[in-house]
């Protein structure tokens, strides 16, 4: 803020330059106003989005009401629209992404922050951040050519022979499936979890580690009992960012989820996600009803994302409140 520092520097200057200082103060007010407008646009865009989605979905809202959320048939020809299979697919793939991604990501972050030599840690962190910038189409291709066959030929048989008694792991595996969608999402959210968690772990004050070590705790006890709890809020934050990303991810999921609007308990079965449905059907949607249904799908996704964010805020607030860390 060069502006305010100039003002501060001039504050003690002789009377003669006062007008300049005052003019600069006016500049401060203008800067204040401009940034306020910028900040307000964020709010306005969000509100506008909400409003547009809400009104755009008027037709289906009137026709189906709440049953839009619980309906399981999606038939654009018969004008029958129920969103549950898409909601289900979105939630299941995102949950799978977290189940696979969180232990891997947090574990990798702990390794990078606490155990790896600094050079290795920084080098790997750089590569991981590059991964976050890879377009999702590329991840989709990776999933089609390597992940899907791998899941079909190795993972699915293994899961079926060990945990096959659960409905979750029953049935024929074709490759394209909820599991494939969840797995590729896990890979895509890993960079977020790893790089943010690593940063917050590294930011834990040295005094905290030293206090623990000086009490005769081992390195590992220190990491586990002091460093990770201290960084908990930040780690949770990274997980929710990953979840928000997973909920909205479109391209890669569309390519491997199978795009089948039916609810299947088995993760080996194909499914459909909200984002994938919108992307696939919007360009071909002709009737007003169909378009309205897709917009309402978008509205539902928007609400889910907002709810997830609210829960994240609350969780972080309560965990920091309890431990007293700021």
């Amino acid at each position: 803020m060069p502006l305010s520092s100039t003002v501060a520097a001039n504050a003690g200057a002789p009377r003669r330059v006062r007008p300049l200082a005052r003019r600069l103060q006016r500049g401060d007010q203008i800067a204040h106003l401009i940034t306020l407008i910028f900040a307000a646009t964020i709010f306005i865009v969000t509100a506008l989005l909400f409003y547009e989605l809400y009104t755009g979905a008027l037709l289906t809202r009137q026709k189906f009401g709440w049953s839009f959320l619980s309906g399981t048939t999606w038939d654009p020809v018969a004008l029958e629209f129920g969103a549950l299979p898409f909601i289900y697919g979105t939630l299941v793939t995102s949950a799978l992404a977290l189940i696979i991604g969180v232990p891997l990501g947090v574990g990798a972050a702990i390794f990078l922050a606490e155990l790896a030599p600094l050079g290795v840690s920084d080098g790997l962190a750089f590569i991981i951040e590059l991964l976050a910038a890879v377009p999702s189409v590329i991840y989709g291709l990776l999933a089609i050519f390597t992940l899907v066959p791998f899941l079909r030929d190795y993972v699915a048989p293994l899961l079926q022979s060990t945990l096959g008694f659960l409905p979750l792991f029953q049935g024929q595996s074709y490759g394209v499936s909820l599991l494939a969608g969840g797995s590729i999402l896990a890979i895509m959210v890993l960079p977020f979890i790893i790089s943010i968690s690593r940063e917050v772990l590294l930011a834990v004050p040295r005094e905290q580690r030293e206090a623990s070590l000086a009490l005769g705790a081992t390195q590992w006890e220190t990491t586990w009992n002091v460093v990770v709890p201290y960084a908990k809020a930040g780690i949770i934050g990274s997980i929710f960012l990953a979840l928000a990303r997973a909920l909205g991810e479109t391209m890669a999921v569309t390519m491997v989820i199978g795009n089948d609007p039916r609810i299947n308990l088995s993760v080996f079965a194909p499914g459909y996600s909200i984002a994938a449905a919108i992307a696939n059907e919007f360009s071909e949607a002709t009737g007003d009803m169909h378009i309205s249904a897709l917009i309402e799908l978008g509205f539902v996704l928007f609400c889910i994302t907002i709810a997830v964010n609210a829960v994240a805020r609350l969780l972080i607030l309560t965990t920091t409140r309890k431990s007293g860390a700021t």
Binding site: Q208, E210, A217
Partner: protein, 250 residues
């Protein structure tokens, strides 16, 4: 003699921080270390419980013996050493947990007590020893972060006492505190020397004179003078010591 330091040279990478330091630390006494900023007091203190091991590139030559045992030998169990030689830091650093859990932390990781009642007992005993019990007994399960600065520092002392150390190293334990809290800490140090060997770094000359039995004066990485506190403050043998304690430099 509790600790014996023989010709210690200490390096942070290429930069040397301690030159040929030799001294002995008396048991059940308070040894004060004084000297201008950057002269190596903290470095010396932290080499007594191998806290410097954590700094990449740090290296020590020479010998540090605790009860006649070389603490830098390969057989030394560093974890056990740090339990025997506790440390209080300049900035109080309680964990963001409850008061109780802070004190119980060392007890738990060192498995000194398993039963809840035993841990309770240790927590109460050490909080009393740190002159904090009366102030916190009604809020043992509240966050340690809600305590005042002086209370936090006494909590850190209690936390260190809970693992039954033999030596306590204190690095400017009162430098961030107000006069009343400082007085409490000083009184505490005075009382603790009945049972512990205490080494305390301070930049406050009056404090060193008040609480310590022996004083070492560091300058530019060298231990310039080491003697009974009385001698140091009344008849220092070295010119630099006199200049420092009379405030002519540093």
């Amino acid at each position: 003699m509790k600790i014996n330091v023989g010709r210690v040279n200490f390096y942070y990478g290429k930069q040397q921080a301690l030159y040929d330091v030799s001294t002995r630390i008396r048991q059940q006494a308070v040894t004060a270390l004084i000297g201008p900023s950057g002269c190596g007091k903290s470095t010396f203190l932290r080499s007594l419980n191998r806290m410097n091991d954590l700094i990449p590139g740090a290296r020590l030559e020479g010998k540090v013996e605790l009860d006649g045992e070389d603490i830098y030998s390969d057989e030394m169990d560093v974890i056990h050493l740090r339990r025997r030689v506790g440390m209080i830091f300049q900035r109080s650093n309680p964990f963001p947990m409850s008061v109780y859990d802070n004190v119980a932390y060392g007890v738990r990781v060192n498995k000194l007590a398993r039963k809840r009642l035993e841990v309770d007992e240790i927590v109460e005993k050490t909080l009393r020893a740190a002159a904090l019990w009366e102030e916190v007994k009604d809020r043992l399960h509240r966050s340690a972060m809600s305590l005042s600065g002086g209370q936090q520092q006494r909590l850190c002392i209690a936390r260190a006492l809970a693992v039954e150390p033999e030596v306590l190293l204190m690095d400017e334990p009162a430098s961030a505190l107000d006069p009343i809290s400082t007085a409490k800490i000083e009184e505490l140090i005075y009382n603790l020397k009945q049972s512990y060997t205490i080494v305390v770094v301070t930049h406050n000359m009056q404090q060193a004179a008040r609480i310590s039995d022996e004083t070492g004066f560091f300058l530019n990485g060298r231990l310039v003078e080491f003697n009974e506190t009385k001698r140091i403050f009344t008849a220092p043998a070295v010119r630099e010591t006199e200049d420092y304690i009379t405030g002519r430099f540093g």
